[in-house]
């Protein structure tokens, strides 16, 4: 995916630098993931291997690893707990793609497209169970509590989102609520696990919980913005997935709020329609330009990113903190 340049874009904080810093731990996490997936069912091994290896950034487990370093954690538990986070995330992706009827994710065919919906549902359930199995072996009730909480919130958020499909009257507050449940809570849980096993003081636990949450919100706003403004979308090569799936995300919510009566009616008509085409998408992009939606979405993402970074104020300035701040900067400046 190529870049649509926008104001204030910084390229100095690269994700690779961040990820390389944690490479040794990440390799261990990958090993745990692969070992956990080795079953005598080739479907489970292949399907889950495919989706977990599908080139995601591993941001969520990396957050566990990075915050463990920030908390000066010296044991090994963060490795299996990071794998728990990845399993929960992957289970969600599998079920999500079935619910959305997605054929592609990150440019690759989705698992449900290759193996069918049935397989994706059942392997998703398997991964969720495995996450709880690893947690039980870890043995901390507090960590199990963090994950059972987030798991409930994710599914609750997914249901809320499903109910909001095709409804143009979703407010910005509703939207923040939904992405809070379905994305930010897992970012938060990834950080909470490290704080928990490091036994840092309550203030720091709270800071990391909030840091993860606000980071997740800013991450999802950027994701939803890129779904309209990445180069593929702007150039007309691709229609945004959210638009195609009649989902009201921030860019569309802003246009709807700012549009005149005629524009509002047309958006209402589009979002309730099942089949959206290139020219509908082009029309919406035009309106987004008219109402300066891109810039405002980025501004809102930055707002939450700054909140996230400020949460780290309870930690002393050191290399680990700089890396996490760098990650927050990267996540709002990324192009894919």
């Amino acid at each position: 995916m190529k870049i649509v340049k926008f104001k204030n874009f910084k390229e100095n904080d690269s994700f690779e630098k961040f990820s390389n810093w944690l490479q040794k731990d990440l390799n261990q996490v990958n090993k745990i993931i692969l070992e956990t997936l080795e079953t005598d069912s080739s479907l489970i091994t292949e399907l889950s291997g495919y989706i977990i290896g599908a080139g995601g950034k591993r941001i969520r487990p990396l957050l566990t690893l990075a915050t463990a370093k920030l908390c000066e954690y010296s044991g090994n538990r963060h490795l299996s707990l990071a794998s728990v986070i990845e399993f929960i995330h992957t289970a969600t992706l599998l079920h999500d793609d079935v619910v959305d009827g997605s054929k592609k994710r990150r440019g690759k065919k989705t698992a449900n497209f290759i193996w069918g919906n049935k397989s994706s549902i059942l392997v998703g359930d398997f991964l969720l169970s495995k996450a709880f199995k690893i947690l039980t072996n870890d043995g901390s009730l507090k960590c199990i509590d963090i994950i059972s909480n987030v798991s409930e919130k994710i599914s609750f958020g997914e249901v809320k989102q499903l109910m909001s499909v095709g409804n143009p009257n979703i407010s910005e507050a509703d939207y923040l609520d939904i992405i809070g449940y379905k994305t930010a809570e897992l970012f938060s849980a990834a950080c909470q696990l490290s704080a928990e096993i490091s036994e840092v003081q309550e203030t720091k636990k709270k800071s990391l919980k909030d840091f993860g949450y606000f980071l997740g919100i800013s991450y999802q706003i950027i994701d939803d913005t890129l779904d309209y403004f990445s180069e593929e979308k702007i150039s007309g090569k691709e229609i945004g997935n959210d638009f195609k799936e009649n989902k009201m995300t921030l860019p569309l919510i802003l246009v709807f709020n700012r549009g005149d009566k005629k524009e509002k009616n047309f958006i209402q008509y589009l979002i309730q329609d099942k089949k959206l085409n290139d020219s509908d998408f082009k029309w919406v992009i035009e309106k987004m330009k008219k109402y300066e939606v891109l810039n405002d979405c980025l501004q809102k993402a930055r707002h939450f990113s700054i909140m996230a970074k400020d949460c780290l104020g309870t930690f002393t300035d050191n290399n680990e903190k700089k890396k996490l701040i760098g990650l927050a900067d990267f996540l709002i400046n990324r192009q894919k």
Copy 2:
């Protein structure tokens, strides 16, 4: 559903008697279930309320309640743990019906038929998360271990079953393996939870674990047998679901094993075919009669039911034990 009379049928052990014995506890469990489902998402409340209230026998949570009595448990934890068992079971049903594309269960429309597959997937996830949430509140790592184990096994069994669809070469051993994972393990877990919280000695814990497992196997064999031999099926009013879904269950496995080359070939052709009709089903029933499949299925179910009952040998003969033995007898003699 009406009865197809078969040899050795006993009607003296009624399920109602068993269920009435536990009614007070069961009312409490139902209350916990309803309270847990009260969310501000009407979809979750309505859909899960519909499926949980859809007239099932509540055998699994009743097992937790009954075995708690057998273990002379005097607290309240068995009530919320019984609700955990029902949540796990319901989550499985929801995902199962999507995977099987079922339109009816127990004579009522399935949730996926009314609310759509998407809702069933997400609400299933929500119920699974809730189960772990209740367990975390209960606070016993051992109970969480029992449920994370069974949750993994159920999804593993479902994947194995999915892989076996349309394959006529499933052996009786493969079949027992699959129903062990997808059914018997949850029956076992329902009993293990009571043994755990009652802190009975290890021998008794092991006995109840095995009791539940063998009871589950006998239960599922009867279920799969009724799918060919209930009056609706025998009279031709309905085609068996398993047959329609190209699933190899015990009755069909026996016919396939016993059939001559021509019959084997035809079954192979049928089971790989997507659209099975009334006359295919009639043909299969005829062959089942020819090879005395009904009687042998019942005999096998009885074999496991007797194993289950003998597991209770570690407990002194008392009213609670008699009730559980009565349940085992009812389950193999039931007609629906």
